[in-house]
Structure formats: C-alpha cells, structure tokens
Amino acid sequence: MAILLEQRPKASPTTSSAASTSSMTRPMDPTSLTQEGSKGLRSRISNWLRRNLFGSLANTILTLSVLILLGLTVPRFIDWAITHASIGGNSKSACSGDGACWTFIKVRLATFIYGHYPAGELWRVNVAAILLAILIIPVIRQHVKRRGLWLLGLVIGYPAVACVLLIGGTLGLPFVPTDLWGGLMLNVVMTFIALVGSFVLGTLLALGRRSTLPIVRLLSVGFIELWRAVPLLTILFMSAVMLPLFLPDGVSIDRLVRAIVALTLFTSAYMAEVVRGGLQSVPEGQEEAAYSLGLRWIDVQIFVLLPQAFRQALPAIINTAVELFKDTTLVTMIGVFDLLGAVTLASKDPNWIGYVKEGYVFAMLVFFVCCFSMSFYGRRVERRLNRDRSNAG
C-alpha cells in the first residue's frame, strides 16, 4: 500500500502535492543531462521512464496494468464520445444510436446552466457572472495594488449587487423567485454564499476556540465538533424535513435559503479548523511582539495574526472551497435542481430517456474544469508560499 501511495503522483502528474511535483521535476533537470541532441533526448526520456515508471518490479507491474486498463477503456470511450457521436438536429432522431448523443446537451444547455430562469432575464445571470470574474481576478492575482479593497468588494459589495440582479423586484428588474433558479448557476451561487459565510463564521469560531474565555471556547468547540460529526446529507435532510415541522404554521423559509444555511454552517466548522491551523502556524513571537507594542487583542488578531494565518491557510481554504462546490450537488436530495439535478431531471423527459450518460459526462466535465482550475490555483499559491518561506529562512 505504501508503494502504491508513493507511486501515484509520479504516474499521474496531475495529482496535487507541491512536494511530489518538485521531486518529479528533479530527474528532468536539464543541467544534469548530456547535450547530444536527439540521442540525449532519447536517453533523457528512457532515463525518466526508468526512474518513474519502471523503477522496480512493483512499479513495472503497476505501469503495465494501468497501460492495459487505459488501452481497454480509452479507445472505446473515444469511439463513443467522438467518433460515433452526433450533435446535429434538435431531437433524439438526429442521433445514430451507436455513440454519444450530444444533441441532448445542446438542446438542454440553457436548463443545465440557468435552470428555469426566465429566458428574457438571462442577461442578469450573465452580468452577475462577469462581475464575479472581474472581482475575483484581482483578488487572486499575485501583484495587485489594494488587493484588500478588491476583496472587500467581492465579499461585501458583490453579494448585494448580485442579490439585486438575480432576485430583482427593485430598480425595474422583474422579481425572479428562487424556485426558478437551477443548474450550474445554483451551484455557483450556493458555493459563493456558503464560502463567504463560512469564512466569516469559521474565522470567528477559530478565534473562539483559541480564546481564553472558557464559555466562548466551549461553545466554539461544541459547535465545531457537532457539525463535523454529522454527515452533510443528514444536515440537508434536517433542514428540508425537520425544520418546517418546528416552525409555526404559515411560516416557511425558502428551501434554497435553508439549503444554503445548512451548507454554510457545515462548511464553517471545517473552515474554523483550517483557519485555526493557519493561526497555529504563525510563530508565537509575532503575537508577543504585537502585544509588547501595546496593541489590543482585537488589533493583534486583525492586523498581525489573521493576515498571516490566512496566507498560510489559503491552500487549505481553496481545498475546502473545492469540496464545498462538489457538495452542493447533494441538494438534489431535497428537490433543488442544481446542475446534476437538472441533468437527471432532463433525462426523465420521454423524448430523451436513455441519454443520461451524456448528461453525466457533461456534468463531470463541468465539475472537473471548475474544480481543477481551483486546485491548480491552490497549488500555485502553495508553491509560492513554500518559496517565500524558504527565502525567509
């Protein structure tokens, strides 16, 4: 088992781990190679192969079995997904039946992305998405002036703007109830709100857990451990099934709001632990030095400890975000149609029964692109942090 775990990053370079990535690049270091043109290249390749894929008997067996497995599956998948696939037309009859029927995705694309958001109002979702991208880019870029301002805009200004845009009902925008929302838009909305909410709540909880006041500490520990001990699905069911029974008659909370609150509370428990990890990694001297300058507790936390803690915790925060994004698909269980729910629902249309495979492959691709780009960014941040740390040390 240990061998397996060690080999995995080498066999598939996409696995995220800065440590293994750097070890992988070492054999390819150009300075260690002879400069004999193509012969050098060949020996370089065979060298790399021997080291990484055929280093030992176990490695060779693993490599060969992976190759055989890929050889058996990949050509058939390509046959299905590309060679014999069809995308023309607007109905099932346009599909040959031998390969994938991407027509299904083409016809249903709007539902998969926007749910039932009224067709005439789709620009509002698009504007909200573009605004989000505009605000995120300066926040995640490395050398940006006034990053804090952009971050504030993203965390405080943007939700207000997006709220007005998406829900409407004011400024001449028609009201769009949340039960018309759906598809990928819903995954993004839920992830964004739950992430921002859990970040704030998680930070407070992390500070609470480190607090010297026993009641605050106890409550924080209790909250974190309670939410971490319960599966997310159970929490979602509680919010969908139990909560309405406890509310007085006639009072009902939007089910999307309930799902988002459940996601936020659940994620904030994990976020608290992530932030606490970041706080612990800040050298004690920082805190002591800050206090000796006469700063108050709150100032020490806000200006000295938390900024450093967030920096250290950023890769783990991104990791939590990726998990959260994937977890949002669980809301299908309570009848909210996110991307995955929309795909499943669309496959129940008698005109499209039997094309659920195409839908799942599409959903997989979308989730892969989203999650991979997030973790790719996370890896870059991690590498940067490691570099900074070694430069400082």
């Binding site: 039946g97 016809v107 249903r108 709007a110 539902t111 749910g115 039932h116 109830p177 039960d179 069911f237 969908a240 099934v241 139990m242 309405p244 029974l245 509310l247 008659d249 006639g250 009902s252 089910r255 299908t332 269980m333 309570i334 009848g335 909210v336 149609f337 729910g341 499943t344 629902l345 669309a346 496959s347 129940k348 249309d349 008698p350 005109n351 029964i353 039997g354 659920v356 495979k357």
Partner: protein, 347 residues
C-alpha cells in the same frame, strides 16, 4: 355618573359588536385552511416527483409535464381558474410526505402508493387514484408471447433489492412455470442487457416498463404484456385535517373522469358549454345547478379543469398513451371499458 355609565355601555356594545363582526367574517371564509391559503396566495404549491417519465418531468423549454403535473394544473384550474398558477416543488421519496405534513406544499401528486400505514400513521389522505399500476412485463416481440404465463422458460432482466424478484417467484409457484431472472443494480444496465439480447424481457412497474421500452434501440420490437402480477394504486395525497380540501382534490379527479365519460374534451368544451342541451353536461359545466359552490369553488370549476388540462383520456394519451410512452390503458380504463377508473355520479 350617568354619562360615565353610558360611555361604559357603549364601549361594551362596540366590543361585542366587533367580536361578532370578526366571527361572521371568519365564517365567511371557507372551513379549509388549505383552500384559503391557496386563494390568498393566488398559487397552488404542488409536490411532484423530481423526475419520472410519464408522471413528472421537464420538457426542453423547462416546462413541467406529465400525468401528475397535469393533476396539479387541474387543481389550480378548479380553485383559481388558471392551470398555470402552480408552483412545482420537486420532492424525493425521502422527503415527500414530510413536506406535505409540514404544510410546505398543498397537495402531493407524486406516483406514490396508497397504503394503510400512510393513511393511518402518516395521517394523510389519498382521495384520488390517478394511476393504477403493477408489475408489468415487456417481452421481445419475436417470442410471440401475449400473456405473462407464456413466458415459461424465458429469462427476464430484473432490478435487485425490490419486491419484483419475489413477485416473480410467487407467480412461478402459483402458475407452476419457470420464469428465469437476470439481476441488475441499475436500470440503465438492465436496459442495455435487454437490448443486447442477454434476456428476453424486462419487468418493473407499468410506467417504468413503458419508459424502458422507449429507450430500446427499436421500441417496436418489444411488446408490453397486458397483465400485471402485483398491483398498486397511486395518486394524490392531502392532509388528514382538511376534509374540504381533500374533497376538492377528489372531485378534480372525478371531473376529469366524468368529462371523459361525457365526451367533453379540451377542444369541444367551449362549444358544449354554450350549445349543449344535455342536463348532465349543463350541470357538469356549471351552467345549471350549484354543485361547485358547495365545494367552496366557483360553479364552473369542472369547465375550468377540462378547459385547462383536458379530460382523463386526453391527459393519459399525452403522457402514457399514443402520444407518450405507448402504455396500453389497461387498469386505467373507465370501469365501463373494463378498467378500474370509476365515474361517479354528479348529483
């Protein structure tokens, strides 16, 4: 002293008058909390399946369609006069009854079976059975089979973890025949196996079998056998504590069947309303009599239902019949044609 007494008396009278006033006002509203809520909201909140071919699904434009969905629209038409005034809530099998109990939805129409436990323990009513179903078989046409007992020796693809298998075993024992089974975890795998000739047929609830047939490479090569070897009655659920609302749901279904029996369709309902001299039709469409008012609805509620969604045959045809999944009506025929759908008398 005198004046003070008069003031006191006047105050007392006005309080009493106010109380009586409010009592009469609350009597003017209906006895049904659900009906009042729906009318005040101007919208029916209807719980449906999160996706089930024939019963509830969304078409390419994202509009809800299906037999159960049509029932939601019919209730909205009866109560509010507009079949579009429905908010659909997708409910999974785990949450369906709780969202009804907690009043998050007004009515649940979600291919759910009527059982004693649901009636008594969950305290829910099922006033209308809109779909009789049961375990049905689909067989390859080339076998030349027309009855289930002729499947002796054949191999049928079955999903595991359900009562489907035990039903076949019981049937085998009762009929002294041998129907073999090939087990699968997922419907898609079972469909593919049937298409690949690994078995001679497929079995499930009638609606699911019809859906399965439509996924076959050549649906015409498969025939759905008329009998069922188990039975289920599926329909609309309401809460125990609201008799008037339950009655409205019951007679919405009644009106759709009655319209079929009277030959009233979505297309001819307007014409019949103004020209028909048949007293049955006139009473049904609310031209004569006060039957709707007694339900707490407008007198023309049945007209609104037929105008909005059509009669039972039209709805069945669209989703399960010739325009839909090609499932023979079987048990869902009117009782006059050998089915179980009874057309109740109107007065």
């Amino acid at each position: 002293m005198m004046t003070r007494n008069i003031v006191k008396y006047a105050a007392l009278v006005s309080i009493v008058a106010g109380l009586t006033g409010s009592v009469t006002a609350s009597q003017a509203a209906s006895e049904s909390a659900t009906l009042d809520a729906v009318k005040a909201r101007g919208e029916l909140i209807c719980g449906v399946d999160t996706g089930m071919p024939g019963f509830a699904f969304q078409d390419s434009s994202g509009e809800w369609k299906g037999l159960d969905v049509s029932y939601c629209r019919a209730i909205a038409a009866a109560v509010l006069g507009d079949p579009q005034k429905v908010k659909f809530i997708g409910t999974t099998s785990k949450v369906r009854f709780t969202v009804l109990q907690s009043r998050e939805i007004d009515v649940l129409v979600r291919d759910s079976e009527y059982t004693l436990a649901r009636n008594s323990q969950l305290r829910l009513m099922e006033p209308a059975v809109n779909f009789y179903t049961g375990q049905t078989f689909m067989a390859r046409k080339s076998l030349g089979v027309s009855h289930v007992k002729e499947l002796d020796g054949a191999t049928i693809c079955v999903l595991t973890g359900t009562t489907l298998e035990t039903n076949i075993a019981d049937y085998n024992r009762a009929m002294k025949i041998k129907i073999n089974t090939l087990l699968f975890d997922k419907p898609e795998e079972a469909f593919a196996a049937a298409d690949a000739q690994r078995c001679d047929g497929y079995t499930d609830d009638s609606g699911s079998v019809a859906a399965a047939r439509s996924t076959m490479k050549v649906p015409e090569d498969w025939v759905i056998l008329p009998e069922t070897i188990s039975s289920q009655a599926q329909g609309a659920f309401t809460r125990y504590d609201d008799d008037q609302w339950t009655t409205i749901v019951k007679w919405t279904h009644g009106a759709m069947l009655k319209a079929e029996a009277l030959g009233i369709t979505k297309a001819n309902v307007d014409e019949l309303k103004s020209t028909s001299t048949d007293p049955q039709v006139k009473k049904f469409l609310g031209v004569e009599g006060e039957l709707g008012g007694a339900l707490g609805l407008n007198n023309d509620f049945a007209y609104q239902i037929v105008k909005g969604v059509g009669n039972y045959a039209e709805v069945y045809d669209e989703y399960f019949g010739s325009k839909g999944l090609q499932l023979p009506r079987g048990l869902n025929e009117l009782y006059t044609k050998g089915g179980l759908q009874y057309v109740a008398s109107w007065y």
